[in-house]
């Protein structure tokens, strides 16, 4: 099977995010970069599928030079090769440009199934997987917590509000991984050593024939809106504090 897993390099979730004074983005100096956690579920699923039925796992990533490290991590986990889409013109890529670049790269190779994370934890946008499916003209199963493989099709569980959907899609298709899909493995030391020699093609926007202009731009990045300051509820004992809290919720906040 020809399995593809798309990955993105993002700031670690513990990262202190500081907005630049001019609102053009965030300060990147002190950031620790990691593989997007949701992409880890995708890579893990790809590797398990290969282990079950054979085939190759190709990692595809759009990102600046430092993103190569994340591709090597996926290779260290057990993927076979990679494609790094790297071009300064694509540094401000929005979801549309990203999906276009991934689609252009993927069109040039055989593929049966494509795994993506359900969203990237930097922009929290959650669009690329579905857009990629649309641009490739294939079905999408988004935010999936369980997968079962059949001949030329997959069945999956998709949680929705108040229910779970059991869905089926023909191959090829895009699957976006949700937490709970699997437990991603750690790269072993031998895996890390082997990864250094695995092939990674580097492509730029011209090689892929895509336009770099974003459709959606972040005109400004701002700190989060401030909440009005709260108060510590007074009382001599838990019962008093509880009664006062209930009263405030009723009379002041008017939420109960």
């Amino acid at each position: 099977m020809n399995i593809i897993a798309c990955v993105k390099q993002v700031p670690d979730t513990e990262a202190q995010i500081k907005v630049k004074a001019d609102g053009t983005g965030i300060e990147e100096g002190q950031i620790k970069w990691v593989m997007n956690p949701y992409d880890e579920f995708g890579v893990e699923e790809a590797l398990r599928l290969k282990e079950k039925g054979g085939g190759t796992v190709t990692i595809v990533s759009l990102g600046p030079a430092r993103a190569m490290e994340t591709i090597r991590t996926a290779l260290a986990m057990g993927a076979d090769k990679g494609v790094h889409i790297c071009d300064p013109a694509l540094d401000k890529a929005d979801a549309y440009v990203t999906a276009s670049a991934l689609a252009a790269a993927i069109k040039g190779m055989p593929y049966d199934i494509i795994f993506c994370g359900q969203r990237a934890i930097d922009d929290d946008s959650g669009q690329v997987g579905a857009m990629l499916a649309e641009l490739l003209g294939i079905p999408q199963l988004t935010i999936v917590t369980k997968i079962e493989y059949a001949e030329n099709a997959i069945k999956a569980i998709r949680p929705i509000e108040g229910a779970q959907l059991l869905v089926e899609a023909g191959l090829p298709c895009v699957v976006t991984a949700q937490k709970g899909l699997n437990e991603p493995r750690y790269a072993s030391l031998p895996g890390i050593m082997k990864a250094k020699k695995k092939p990674v093609d580097v492509k730029d926007a011209a090689a892929l024939g895509i336009a770099a202009a974003a459709k959606a731009t972040v005109a400004k990045t701002v700190p989060p809106p401030a909440r009005p300051p709260g108060k510590i509820v007074c009382g001599d004992d838990p019962a008093q504090k509880a009664a006062e809290t209930a009263r405030l919720l009723r009379e002041e906040a008017k939420v109960i």
Partner: protein, 325 residues
């Protein structure tokens, strides 16, 4: 020239979901600023009678695509039908809900329309005649103001954040042929496994009582269930409680869990790590109950109780019972 503010209404099991009214009301506000009309796309099978309800919230026209191929929802079919009617009419703005279905649809549709989309927005406004969408990024550690440079300018709205204000308009029904070829659709819903708890989903709850590491175990959650029952709410959990196996993943609120926007969020034994705040900072009111006065959650809470939650929560349940009697 592109004109009009459009929404894609969401229906399930023959009823419009609440997000549809939030979308209509928000679209009405934007359209009034632009001096233009609000249209809704309503897709499904046997759903024409739902159109009138959208009029109550400010919709001028409802484009109804009614066909068995559109029920239940499948992204390929809905994206194709929506794209068809959109391309025929060239709206300037298109709003979709950031519900599970809306997120699945909006991205595919934006790809089909070759346009930009701002997802999970907590505010939208008109600036210089264009849509300006405000959305959290980096788990809410900062916000982005997004401008889309193509038409329709798309945005998906976070559920339970935008008001659904009544503003009666005609909701004139215009039926269109979705022209979706069933043979082209390569995915399908095999089964809907409904959650039997009878509770609403966390993402739609008005009241959430949530427990973290301070609950010390699954049994501790029973007092939270009691409080939630009295307040007619649901029980959520932090990642610590879920990872410890005390609660299910579907109950998790936070960066790798659900994003919730209730009127009231009661955080019990939750320290308030940034990843948890990412999931509940849209809450209108936050109560924190924690015996650690230094817990970061107190900086975000409207009302903080520094005390033993195992004593406070049952008392709070009693106090609320009395008030609501």
């Amino acid at each position: 020239m592109a004109q009009g503010v459009w929404i894609i209404a969401e229906q399930r099991d023959g009823a419009l979901r609440k997000i549809s009214f939030e979308l209509a009301s928000t679209a009405r506000k934007l359209a009034d600023q632009l001096g233009t009309e609000v249209s809704a796309i309503l897709l499904g099978s046997g759903i024409e009678s739902l159109a009138a309800q959208l009029g109550k919230y400010g919709v001028d026209k409802v484009y109804v695509g009614d066909s068995p191929v559109l029920e239940p929802y499948i992204s390929e079919a809905h994206a194709a039908a929506a794209a068809k009617i959109i391309k025929e009419n060239d709206p300037a703005i298109l709003l979709v809900g950031a519900s599970v279905q809306g997120k699945d649809l909006a991205a595919r549709l934006a790809g089909k329309l070759e346009t930009g989309l701002a997802t999970d927005c907590t505010d939208v406004k008109i600036a210089d005649g264009k849509l300006l969408s405000i959305r959290p990024m980096y788990a809410g550690k900062c916000f982005g103001e997004i401008v889309v440079n193509s038409n329709p300018q798309m945005a998906s709205l976070r559920p339970n954040v935008f008001p659904a204000a009544e503003n009666a308009k005609a909701a004139q029904v215009v039926k269109f042929d979705p022209a979706v070829d069933a043979a082209q659709i390569k995915s399908k819903v095999l089964e809907v496994q409904k959650d039997t708890s009878g509770k609403v989903d966390l993402t739609e709850a008005n009241v959430i009582v949530s427990g973290g590491r301070g609950m010390k175990g699954p049994e501790g959650f029973s007092i939270l269930e009691e409080l939630a029952d009295v307040l007619k709410g649901c029980v959520g959990a932090s990642r610590a409680a879920v990872d410890a196996g005390w609660r299910l993943q579907k109950d998790q609120v936070g960066q790798t869990g659900k994003v919730v926007s209730p009127n009231l969020y009661v955080a019990c034994g939750i320290s308030g790590a940034i990843q948890h705040l990412a999931g509940m900072s849209s809450s209108k009111y936050i109560v924190a109950i924690n015996k650690d006065a230094e817990a970061p959650i107190f900086a975000k809470a409207d009302y903080g109780v520094v005390d033993d939650l195992f004593k406070v929560v049952p008392e709070l349940t009693n106090a609320c019972k009395k008030l609501l009697a």
